[in-house]
Subunit: 125 residues, 2 copies
DNA sequence: TCTTGACCTGGAGTGCACTCCAGATGTTAC
DNA sequence: GTAACATCTGGAGTGCACTCCAGGTCAAGA
């Protein structure tokens, strides 16, 4: 799969895919003899994972650390698990913050519908 | 209330509070005769609202637009409501994305606990 | 073979949201 | 009154995550 195809498949630009590889957010992608990237199934799984994590706001640094551990020899499973656990805590916190904001928006919108907008309309009629 | 006190109360630095006022994220704060900010209850409500929205990732541009409408003469309730509704959609989307990532993390952590870490430990014992 | 378009690299540029700073002015405790 | 500290302004600097670009290589159709 070429970079254009992978780009299409995941809705990330080729520049972003190259950037992700350059900084180690995904492991090095296999190349053709002439140096052109060829995304295989494993590369695609990495892209998809990182797209998911990034869209949830997980910092690039945590993710590159995770990938780095994967590429290291020796036992790193516990360290990798710890990264996931740390990020889970952060995501739970952010979900909670967004839920707070959502409740507040719902409350405000309700007030616009029942009080503020009727009041404004009433001023003229 | 001085800027130091407001800063303390909401966990935002004085620089951030001044920045928020400068860009119109909160309306101009009342000043003492000598020009020093004096945060009253209404100013505090704005700070708290904006802290909540910003922590949920709402863009500054949307929030300044909302404040701008508030300061305009004439009926703006419907326009303000529309901003809130637009932001609600974005927040719901992000909550959903984060929930996806959370599910994925939970699944992965479970796999580390039941498979990957035991396997690594087993290699030596 | 030639041309056209996709791909490559390294590095510079961008946008957002702060964050810091210099130099000036105000305030408070002694 | 004065030392020490808080606050003010406008503007520059920072960090993150891309995004764009120049200048070159590669590949596929006419």
């Amino acid at each position: 799969m070429t970079i254009a195809e992978a780009s299409q498949k995941y809705g990330l630009t080729p520049d972003t895919l190259r950037y992700y590889e350059r900084i180690g957010l995904i492991p090095p992608v296999r190349r053709t003899a002439s140096g052109i990237r060829d995304y295989d199934e494993e590369a695609c799984r990495w892209i998809e994972l990182m797209k998911c994590m990034r869209s949830a706001g997980v910092q690039i640094e945590a993710l590159t650390e995770y990938v780095k551990l994967f590429q290291q020899p020796g036992p790193t499973a516990e360290a990798r698990r710890q990264i996931l656990v740390d990020q889970r805590i952060l995501i739970e916190k952010r979900i909670w913050e967004m839920q707070e904001a959502l409740n507040r928006l719902n409350y405000k919108i309700e007030r616009y519908d029942t009080v503020l907008i009727p009041a404004e309309k009433g001023r003229k009629g």
